[in-house]
Symmetry: C2
Subunit: 465 residues, 2 copies
């Protein structure tokens, strides 16, 4: 009888590309292209540049870059330079989360792409693995990470940034698959990853840069755990459910049955949602519900006297501290700002945040938005993210808006054209790639399953070989 952790490790080690249903592989391609847009969107963001500079510095200078290139290094997307897989994964993971447009799995409240694809792509590049290897490893990262997030539960998420903590295990699983770890080695890799799991929400209160550090840390620590396991380094056997493991230290409602829930039959990867608005996912259901009621009743922003959003507890925990955002990034965690932007522009994208998050009109409307805990919404969460709002209009009406699946959820998903358009939009916003470069890169990436070897996703800026 295997323990849940051992079962999960065996699944992660033994899953083969041929076992993965077609629909799961196609969805993984969608997620990969969607991630690529978010990674390029990190170009020029100050916290991302800091982490990228650090990674470059700790490679040991230009000669080291050339050396990394010569022996199969990996691509740093925001700088178009080469680094070792470890430092490239760190930099790319920092980049992928800053635009707040990367994907999310509702039930685990976990953002898989930003911690799975950066280490998986970096290691696939460094080792010359195929596109199919990359897809299979990515599915492993999603399936493991999502289940660990579900296992740790809602209590964990109250204080810990699940993407940071669980991300170490997701990254280790994906990289471990590319390194072809056996089941025992994979369990050691998960042990080493889980004992490095970290990430606290406290940074939200002062709009600090930690979110980028969390994803960078998770990708790097997870990758390291897998490499160490390949080299014989051991980790705790029961890092998840053991008496001094992750759940013991960081959760009060952990449920070990979630770790192996439907392994190999239920594909959590396809449950992953795309983000449509460029804000914290907790704002999306209410934003879409507001759009719905405004559309239905033909309301203009000036018609809104007040908006009450009916939300789950997690939204109050994460968004509650943000009442008067002072930075673009912080404003993405302000329910009032997000609703003010969608009311005015029909969508809260990067451009809307960048140009209008502190405008007089936005602030005025922002301060008339409130949040209230709603039993139905809270009861359905995190499996379903229901959006409900009550609008009081300036002419005295009380109107109700509701969405059961926000835009981007599996039942209301993005088409491949929409995913492509989003990626191009993100690159254009950050100027991380030209339109032509990005179009070419995305066109190629849709064919990843045919790639014999995963190469650079963007043309390199470095001439040296």
């Amino acid at each position: 009888m295997l323990t849940p952790t051992a079962t999960l490790a065996r699944f992660a080690a033994e899953l083969r590309y041929e076992h993965i249903p077609e629909a799961v592989l196609r969805k993984t391609e969608d997620l990969l292209v969607d991630w690529f847009g978010s990674a390029v969107a990190g170009h020029g963001a100050r916290p991302v540049e800091s982490i990228t500079r650090f990674a470059a510095q700790m490679m040991g200078g230009p000669a080291a870059h050339a050396a990394a290139l010569g022996q199969g290094g990996a691509e740093v997307l925001v700088s178009r330079q080469r680094a070792s897989a470890y430092l490239a994964a760190m930099a790319n993971a920092a980049a992928s989360h800053v635009a707040e447009q990367d994907d999310v799995h509702n039930g685990s409240v976990f953002h898989p792409a930003t911690v799975v694809f950066p280490p998986a792509v970096a290691v696939a590049q460094a080792l010359g693995r195929s596109g199919q290897d990359l897809l299979a490893a990515s599915v492993v990262g999603y399936e493991v990470g999502i289940r660990v997030g579900e296992f740790l539960g809602r209590s964990h998420y109250k204080v810990f940034h699940t993407t940071g903590t669980v991300g170490t295990l997701a990254a280790a699983a994906a990289v471990g698959h590319l390194l072809r770890l056996d089941a025992a080695q994979m369990q050691h890799a998960l042990g080493s990853a889980g004992t490095q799991a970290a990430g606290l929400w406290e940074f939200l209160r002062t709009a600090a840069d930690s979110k980028q550090l969390h994803t960078a840390h998770a990708a790097a620590a997870g990758l390291m755990s897998a490499y160490l396991a390949q080299d014989g380094f051991t980790g705790a056997a029961e890092i998840l459910a053991g008496p001094q493991g992750m759940a013991a230290g960081m959760s009060s409602d952990a449920d070990a049955t979630r770790l192996t829930d439907g392994l190999g039959t239920r594909w959590a990867t396809v449950e992953t949602s795309f983000k449509y608005h460029a804000s914290c996912r907790h704002t999306h259901p209410a934003a879409d519900a507001l759009l719905q009621v405004m559309r239905e009743h033909g309301l203009k922003p000036a018609d809104l006297q007040s908006v009450e959003t009916q939300v789950h507890q997690g939204a109050l925990d994460v968004l509650g501290p943000v009442t008067s955002p002072s930075t673009v990034h912080q404003s993405k965690f302000s329910m009032g700002t997000v609703l003010a932007l969608v009311a005015q522009y029909g969508h809260a994208g990067l451009t809307e945040f960048d140009q209008h998050f502190l405008s007089e009109a936005t602030r005025a409307l922002r301060d008339r938005v409130s949040m209230r805990l709603d039993p139905e919404v809270d009861g359905a969460y995190p499996r379903r993210w229901i959006g409900k709002v009550t609008v009081h209009t300036t002419d005295g009406r009380v109107l109700h808006g509701r969405v059961d699946e926000p835009k981007g959820d599996p039942g209301n998903t993005l088409s491949r054209d929409e995913v492509t358009a989003k990626a191009l939009r993100l690159a254009a916003f950050s100027q991380g790639a030209t339109a032509a470069e990005m179009q070419q890169a995305v066109d190629a990436l849709w064919q990843v399953a045919q790639w014999p070897v995963v190469g650079a996703l963007l043309p390199s800026q470095v001439g040296a070989a």
Copy 2:
């Protein structure tokens, strides 16, 4: 009015060498030499070699080493090669904790040396700082780390390996001092370090290698946090006591007054104990108490029918799971093994563990040792580590042994000759340096306060420049 975290950060940023009392500086030199022995003792240990190989690999190969050397890299003590400060700190921190001979601060149950000196020495080497800079930065690391450990309290230590978690902050403070961060930057560095704090005791149950990973992680993550802060990267303002900070997530008995307790007047650095036995510190009080009663009554190992140790709860938490150790490292967490070795050899050193931890005589005696929670011992802990044992002799006597300060504690400390001899013994055991190399290195290290620049501690094995 500054918050406790802000006060601690300001102290860390603004402490100057000239402010530090002479006795604190001399003790810091003792701790530095003692650490150096432990770091060299990591040579050849499998988990250390794995982490060192990983660090070398992620530098990008030999050309990268040369590049790091050329522009002021740092020394990897166990491989005698050069790496960037980040990867050198990671490797040296892994090395310093494996022999279980590095120092400990009783009140915080925190091992400062292994997470403070590796990053401080690496950065001092990389930046060409003076020996006095290194000493001042090390004192900052000790003072901050110890207070954060005391703050997080006993509940934290039940599940978390305090040296791993608190180590990130201690490392960040020491490195931040060498980088000459101002108070605000230092607070950001602590924020970034605390949000990466990790390390779970679960690995003990299967004798996994995680202890070395915890110190490597703490040193590397802390160093990175300080470098990022210098570059403008921000961290949570209240990572320690904030509502979603470290204490909120990882402690149930945190006491914020401990964070600033006697800052600048109480020097926690001098409260640090040297380890005399090569085992988990929780075994030392009982080991010394057994030696005391055996000496007083002239007992031989064959006279011992059974030994009951009266211990604090933390000893039960950490040592309790280890009943039948299968590796040398695990046996250092076995109360029975440690007492069996001291009964036979008068001391439980590296050689005794390595050669005798599974001998028939050791196992027979081991299985006659028990632990029992003792209210007096538990009440004094962690400020005082009292050792009490009750011995039943084969001729029917019941004898009691007691020590109030185990060997190596400030009131029963090691002389400089004893510190030197211990360092030479550790190097001889690991063959990490020849006797002549080690004697020369230690002689030089005692003069660290006169060094204009911190250079390599051991002769390099790499010819290239």
